[in-house]
Protein backbone atom coordinates (compact mmCIF):
# COMPACT_ATOMS: atom_id res chain seq x y z
CA UNK A 1 0.00 0.00 0.00
CA UNK A 2 2.80 2.39 0.97
CA UNK A 3 4.70 1.36 -2.14
CA UNK A 4 1.65 2.12 -4.26
CA UNK A 5 1.28 5.58 -2.68
CA UNK A 6 4.98 6.26 -3.20
CA UNK A 7 4.74 5.27 -6.86
CA UNK A 8 1.64 7.41 -7.28
CA UNK A 9 3.40 10.40 -5.72
CA UNK A 10 6.39 9.83 -7.97
CA UNK A 11 4.20 9.76 -11.05
CA UNK A 12 2.35 12.91 -9.94
CA UNK A 13 5.63 14.80 -9.57
CA UNK A 14 6.78 13.54 -12.98
CA UNK A 15 3.52 14.65 -14.60
CA UNK A 16 3.79 18.10 -13.01
CA UNK A 17 7.38 18.53 -14.15
CA UNK A 18 6.53 17.33 -17.66
CA UNK A 19 3.56 19.70 -17.89
CA UNK A 20 5.74 22.66 -16.86
CA UNK A 21 8.47 21.61 -19.30
CA UNK A 22 6.10 20.96 -22.20
CA UNK A 23 6.35 24.39 -23.91
CA UNK A 24 10.15 24.20 -23.82
CA UNK A 25 10.17 20.62 -25.06
CA UNK A 26 7.77 21.51 -27.88
CA UNK A 27 10.03 24.37 -28.95
CA UNK A 28 13.18 22.24 -28.69
CA UNK A 29 11.77 19.37 -30.75
CA UNK A 30 10.31 21.72 -33.36
CA UNK A 31 13.72 23.39 -33.71
CA UNK A 32 15.39 20.05 -34.45
CA UNK A 33 12.54 18.57 -36.49
CA UNK A 34 11.29 21.00 -39.13
CA UNK A 35 8.58 18.51 -40.16
CA UNK A 36 5.97 19.70 -37.66
CA UNK A 37 3.80 16.58 -37.91
CA UNK A 38 6.85 14.51 -37.05
CA UNK A 39 7.71 16.92 -34.23
CA UNK A 40 4.26 16.48 -32.65
CA UNK A 41 4.69 12.70 -32.84
CA UNK A 42 8.12 12.91 -31.22
CA UNK A 43 6.66 15.03 -28.42
CA UNK A 44 3.94 12.45 -27.76
CA UNK A 45 6.47 9.61 -27.74
CA UNK A 46 8.76 11.62 -25.46
CA UNK A 47 6.38 11.30 -22.50
CA UNK A 48 6.88 7.54 -22.36
CA UNK A 49 10.62 7.70 -23.04
CA UNK A 50 11.11 10.26 -20.26
CA UNK A 51 9.02 8.24 -17.80
CA UNK A 52 11.09 5.13 -18.58
CA UNK A 53 14.28 7.06 -17.76
CA UNK A 54 12.91 9.08 -14.87
CA UNK A 55 15.08 7.17 -12.38
CA UNK A 56 18.07 9.00 -13.90
CA UNK A 57 16.64 12.45 -13.17
CA UNK A 58 18.12 14.15 -10.09
CA UNK A 59 15.46 16.15 -8.23
CA UNK A 60 16.41 19.79 -7.86
CA UNK A 61 18.17 19.95 -11.21
CA UNK A 62 16.70 21.50 -14.38
CA UNK A 63 14.05 19.02 -15.58
CA UNK A 64 13.66 20.71 -18.99
CA UNK A 65 17.38 20.49 -19.65
CA UNK A 66 17.42 16.80 -18.62
CA UNK A 67 14.37 16.06 -20.78
CA UNK A 68 15.81 17.88 -23.81
CA UNK A 69 19.03 15.85 -23.61
CA UNK A 70 17.05 12.61 -23.75
CA UNK A 71 14.75 13.83 -26.52
CA UNK A 72 17.80 14.94 -28.49
CA UNK A 73 19.03 11.34 -28.60
CA UNK A 74 15.55 10.26 -29.64
CA UNK A 75 15.53 12.77 -32.54
CA UNK A 76 18.97 11.64 -33.70
CA UNK A 77 17.96 7.96 -33.51
CA UNK A 78 14.82 8.69 -35.56
CA UNK A 79 17.00 10.54 -38.07
CA UNK A 80 19.27 7.51 -38.50
CA UNK A 81 16.33 5.10 -38.71
CA UNK A 82 14.37 7.21 -41.22
CA UNK A 83 14.03 6.34 -44.88
CA UNK A 84 16.25 8.35 -47.28
CA UNK A 85 13.24 10.43 -48.38
CA UNK A 86 12.20 11.22 -44.81
CA UNK A 87 15.78 12.00 -43.84
CA UNK A 88 16.10 14.37 -46.82
CA UNK A 89 12.98 16.22 -45.59
CA UNK A 90 14.75 17.06 -42.32
CA UNK A 91 18.08 18.49 -41.21
CA UNK A 92 21.37 16.62 -41.29
CA UNK A 93 22.57 14.96 -38.08
CA UNK A 94 25.41 17.51 -37.91
CA UNK A 95 23.01 20.47 -37.97
CA UNK A 96 20.69 18.83 -35.42
CA UNK A 97 23.68 18.40 -33.08
CA UNK A 98 24.73 22.03 -33.46
CA UNK A 99 21.23 23.37 -32.89
CA UNK A 100 20.83 21.13 -29.84
CA UNK A 101 24.24 22.09 -28.38
CA UNK A 102 23.46 25.80 -28.70
CA UNK A 103 19.96 25.47 -27.27
CA UNK A 104 21.05 23.39 -24.27
CA UNK A 105 23.10 26.18 -22.73
CA UNK A 106 21.41 27.34 -19.52
CA UNK A 107 21.38 31.01 -20.53
CA UNK A 108 19.82 30.19 -23.91
CA UNK A 109 17.17 27.90 -22.36
CA UNK A 110 16.26 30.70 -19.95
CA UNK A 111 16.15 33.31 -22.71
CA UNK A 112 13.91 31.13 -24.90
CA UNK A 113 11.60 30.42 -21.93
CA UNK A 114 11.39 34.15 -21.15
CA UNK A 115 10.59 34.88 -24.80
CA UNK A 116 7.77 32.31 -24.73
CA UNK A 117 6.26 33.93 -21.65
CA UNK A 118 6.57 37.41 -23.18
CA UNK A 119 5.15 36.11 -26.47
CA UNK A 120 2.06 34.95 -24.59
CA UNK A 121 1.47 38.53 -23.43
CA UNK A 122 2.11 39.83 -26.94
CA UNK A 123 -0.40 37.39 -28.46
CA UNK A 124 -3.01 38.72 -26.04
CA UNK A 125 -2.40 42.22 -27.44
CA UNK A 126 -3.14 41.18 -31.04
CA UNK A 127 -6.44 42.12 -32.61
CA UNK A 128 -9.23 39.57 -32.24
CA UNK A 129 -9.26 38.77 -35.97
CA UNK A 130 -5.55 38.01 -35.98
CA UNK A 131 -5.84 35.78 -32.91
CA UNK A 132 -8.70 33.95 -34.63
CA UNK A 133 -6.56 33.41 -37.71
CA UNK A 134 -3.79 31.92 -35.56
CA UNK A 135 -6.27 29.72 -33.71
CA UNK A 136 -8.02 28.29 -36.75
CA UNK A 137 -4.88 27.54 -38.76
CA UNK A 138 -2.30 26.62 -36.11
CA UNK A 139 -5.02 24.88 -34.10
CA UNK A 140 -5.73 22.67 -37.11
CA UNK A 141 -9.38 23.70 -37.40
CA UNK A 142 -9.02 24.94 -40.96
CA UNK A 143 -6.32 25.07 -43.58
CA UNK A 144 -4.87 28.23 -45.05
CA UNK A 145 -6.47 27.17 -48.34
CA UNK A 146 -9.93 27.04 -46.75
CA UNK A 147 -9.51 30.46 -45.13
CA UNK A 148 -8.24 31.90 -48.42
CA UNK A 149 -11.28 30.49 -50.24
CA UNK A 150 -13.63 32.07 -47.66
CA UNK A 151 -11.92 35.41 -48.08
CA UNK A 152 -11.73 35.03 -51.84
CA UNK A 153 -8.02 35.82 -51.68
CA UNK A 154 -4.87 33.94 -52.71
CA UNK A 155 -3.61 31.43 -50.18
CA UNK A 156 -0.24 33.17 -50.21
CA UNK A 157 -1.82 36.24 -48.59
CA UNK A 158 -2.97 34.11 -45.64
CA UNK A 159 0.53 32.63 -45.24
CA UNK A 160 2.02 36.13 -45.44
CA UNK A 161 -0.31 37.42 -42.73
CA UNK A 162 0.64 34.55 -40.42
CA UNK A 163 4.34 35.20 -41.02
CA UNK A 164 3.84 38.91 -40.28
CA UNK A 165 2.08 38.00 -37.05
CA UNK A 166 4.85 35.58 -36.05
CA UNK A 167 7.50 38.22 -36.67
CA UNK A 168 5.47 40.87 -34.83
CA UNK A 169 5.02 38.61 -31.79
CA UNK A 170 8.72 37.72 -31.77
CA UNK A 171 9.79 41.38 -31.98
CA UNK A 172 7.27 42.36 -29.30
CA UNK A 173 8.60 39.61 -26.99
CA UNK A 174 12.20 40.67 -27.53
CA UNK A 175 11.37 44.34 -26.96
CA UNK A 176 9.55 43.37 -23.77
CA UNK A 177 12.54 41.44 -22.46
CA UNK A 178 15.06 44.08 -23.52
CA UNK A 179 12.91 46.69 -21.76
CA UNK A 180 12.89 44.61 -18.58
CA UNK A 181 16.66 44.20 -18.79
CA UNK A 182 17.14 47.91 -19.27
CA UNK A 183 14.89 48.75 -16.35
CA UNK A 184 16.70 46.44 -13.93
Amino acid sequence: MALHAEQSDRYTKFAMRLTRARPGLHSFITTLTPNFTEAEKTLRDASLVLWEQYDDYEPGTNFLSWACRIVRRQVIEHRHAASPDAAAAGFSAALIERLADETLVDAELERLAAERRAAGQCIAKLQQGDRNLIRVIYGGKQTAQAIAAQLNRPVQSVHQRLCQLRRAVEQCAQRTLDGEGGAS
Binding site: S27, F36, F91, L95, A119, I123, R135, G139, R166
Partner: protein, 126 residues
Protein backbone atom coordinates in the same frame (compact mmCIF):
# COMPACT_ATOMS: atom_id res chain seq x y z
CA UNK B 1 25.33 38.05 -39.40
CA UNK B 2 28.56 37.03 -41.07
CA UNK B 3 27.81 36.00 -44.64
CA UNK B 4 24.19 34.86 -44.76
CA UNK B 5 21.56 36.94 -46.55
CA UNK B 6 19.25 37.80 -43.64
CA UNK B 7 16.26 38.56 -45.87
CA UNK B 8 16.62 35.25 -47.68
CA UNK B 9 16.97 33.41 -44.38
CA UNK B 10 13.73 34.95 -43.10
CA UNK B 11 11.95 34.04 -46.35
CA UNK B 12 13.03 30.40 -45.95
CA UNK B 13 11.97 30.36 -42.27
CA UNK B 14 8.59 31.86 -43.26
CA UNK B 15 8.13 29.10 -45.85
CA UNK B 16 9.12 26.47 -43.30
CA UNK B 17 6.60 27.79 -40.77
CA UNK B 18 3.93 27.84 -43.51
CA UNK B 19 4.90 24.27 -44.38
CA UNK B 20 5.43 25.33 -47.98
CA UNK B 21 9.20 24.82 -48.09
CA UNK B 22 10.18 22.37 -50.83
CA UNK B 23 13.23 20.07 -50.89
CA UNK B 24 15.41 22.65 -52.64
CA UNK B 25 14.46 25.28 -50.08
CA UNK B 26 15.15 22.85 -47.27
CA UNK B 27 18.62 22.18 -48.66
CA UNK B 28 19.24 25.93 -48.97
CA UNK B 29 18.15 26.49 -45.36
CA UNK B 30 20.44 23.69 -44.18
CA UNK B 31 23.35 25.25 -46.06
CA UNK B 32 22.67 28.64 -44.49
CA UNK B 33 22.45 27.26 -40.95
CA UNK B 34 25.21 24.67 -40.88
CA UNK B 35 28.17 27.06 -40.80
CA UNK B 36 26.67 30.24 -39.39
CA UNK B 37 26.04 30.55 -35.66
CA UNK B 38 24.14 33.84 -36.02
CA UNK B 39 21.82 32.31 -38.63
CA UNK B 40 21.15 29.41 -36.24
CA UNK B 41 20.37 31.87 -33.43
CA UNK B 42 17.86 33.70 -35.65
CA UNK B 43 16.33 30.35 -36.66
CA UNK B 44 16.05 29.07 -33.05
CA UNK B 45 14.25 32.18 -31.83
CA UNK B 46 11.87 32.29 -34.83
CA UNK B 47 10.94 28.64 -34.30
CA UNK B 48 10.53 29.29 -30.58
CA UNK B 49 7.87 31.90 -31.41
CA UNK B 50 6.30 29.60 -34.01
CA UNK B 51 6.10 26.85 -31.38
CA UNK B 52 4.48 29.27 -28.91
CA UNK B 53 1.84 30.24 -31.48
CA UNK B 54 1.05 26.59 -32.22
CA UNK B 55 0.67 25.80 -28.53
CA UNK B 56 -1.49 28.89 -27.99
CA UNK B 57 -3.74 27.79 -30.85
CA UNK B 58 -3.96 24.21 -29.65
CA UNK B 59 -4.74 25.31 -26.10
CA UNK B 60 -7.43 27.80 -27.06
CA UNK B 61 -9.02 26.30 -30.17
CA UNK B 62 -10.35 23.27 -28.28
CA UNK B 63 -12.01 25.36 -25.56
CA UNK B 64 -13.50 28.18 -27.59
CA UNK B 65 -16.19 28.23 -30.23
CA UNK B 66 -15.20 27.48 -33.79
CA UNK B 67 -13.97 30.68 -35.36
CA UNK B 68 -14.50 31.39 -38.99
CA UNK B 69 -13.22 34.23 -41.05
CA UNK B 70 -16.02 35.55 -43.22
CA UNK B 71 -15.57 37.61 -46.36
CA UNK B 72 -16.77 41.20 -46.21
CA UNK B 73 -19.73 40.69 -48.57
CA UNK B 74 -21.13 37.94 -46.31
CA UNK B 75 -20.85 40.19 -43.26
CA UNK B 76 -22.55 43.07 -45.11
CA UNK B 77 -25.33 40.79 -46.36
CA UNK B 78 -25.92 39.49 -42.83
CA UNK B 79 -26.06 43.04 -41.47
CA UNK B 80 -28.56 44.09 -44.17
CA UNK B 81 -30.81 41.11 -43.35
CA UNK B 82 -30.75 41.98 -39.62
CA UNK B 83 -31.63 45.61 -40.34
CA UNK B 84 -34.47 44.64 -42.73
CA UNK B 85 -35.97 42.22 -40.19
CA UNK B 86 -35.71 44.80 -37.38
CA UNK B 87 -37.36 47.55 -39.46
CA UNK B 88 -40.10 45.15 -40.61
CA UNK B 89 -40.81 44.15 -37.00
CA UNK B 90 -41.11 47.81 -35.93
CA UNK B 91 -43.43 48.63 -38.84
CA UNK B 92 -45.67 45.62 -38.13
CA UNK B 93 -45.77 46.50 -34.43
CA UNK B 94 -46.92 50.07 -35.21
CA UNK B 95 -49.55 49.01 -37.74
CA UNK B 96 -50.88 46.13 -35.61
CA UNK B 97 -50.20 47.06 -31.96
CA UNK B 98 -50.70 44.19 -29.48
CA UNK B 99 -53.78 44.30 -27.22
CA UNK B 100 -52.88 45.16 -23.59
CA UNK B 101 -54.14 41.83 -22.20
CA UNK B 102 -52.25 39.74 -24.74
CA UNK B 103 -49.05 41.58 -24.13
CA UNK B 104 -49.23 41.18 -20.35
CA UNK B 105 -50.09 37.49 -20.64
CA UNK B 106 -47.22 36.79 -23.03
CA UNK B 107 -44.65 38.63 -20.93
CA UNK B 108 -45.70 36.73 -17.82
CA UNK B 109 -45.30 33.42 -19.62
CA UNK B 110 -41.96 34.28 -21.11
CA UNK B 111 -40.62 35.83 -17.92
CA UNK B 112 -41.07 32.70 -15.85
CA UNK B 113 -38.16 30.64 -17.22
CA UNK B 114 -35.81 33.61 -16.96
CA UNK B 115 -36.28 33.62 -13.18
CA UNK B 116 -35.00 30.06 -12.96
CA UNK B 117 -31.89 31.23 -11.09
CA UNK B 118 -33.99 31.69 -7.97
CA UNK B 119 -33.62 29.09 -5.27
CA UNK B 120 -36.47 26.52 -5.00
CA UNK B 121 -39.20 27.83 -2.76
CA UNK B 122 -38.00 31.38 -3.06
CA UNK B 123 -40.96 33.73 -3.54
CA UNK B 124 -41.22 35.73 -6.71
CA UNK B 125 -41.41 39.49 -6.64
CA UNK B 126 -44.99 40.59 -5.95
Amino acid sequence: MSHVDHQRLMTLIDALCSQTLDAAGMAELEAMLIDDAEARRVYRHAINTHSTLRQYAQATSSSGPKMTVKPLHVIIAAAVIVVVITVAAIVVHRIFPAKPGEGAGRSAHTAAPIQSDKAPGEKAEP
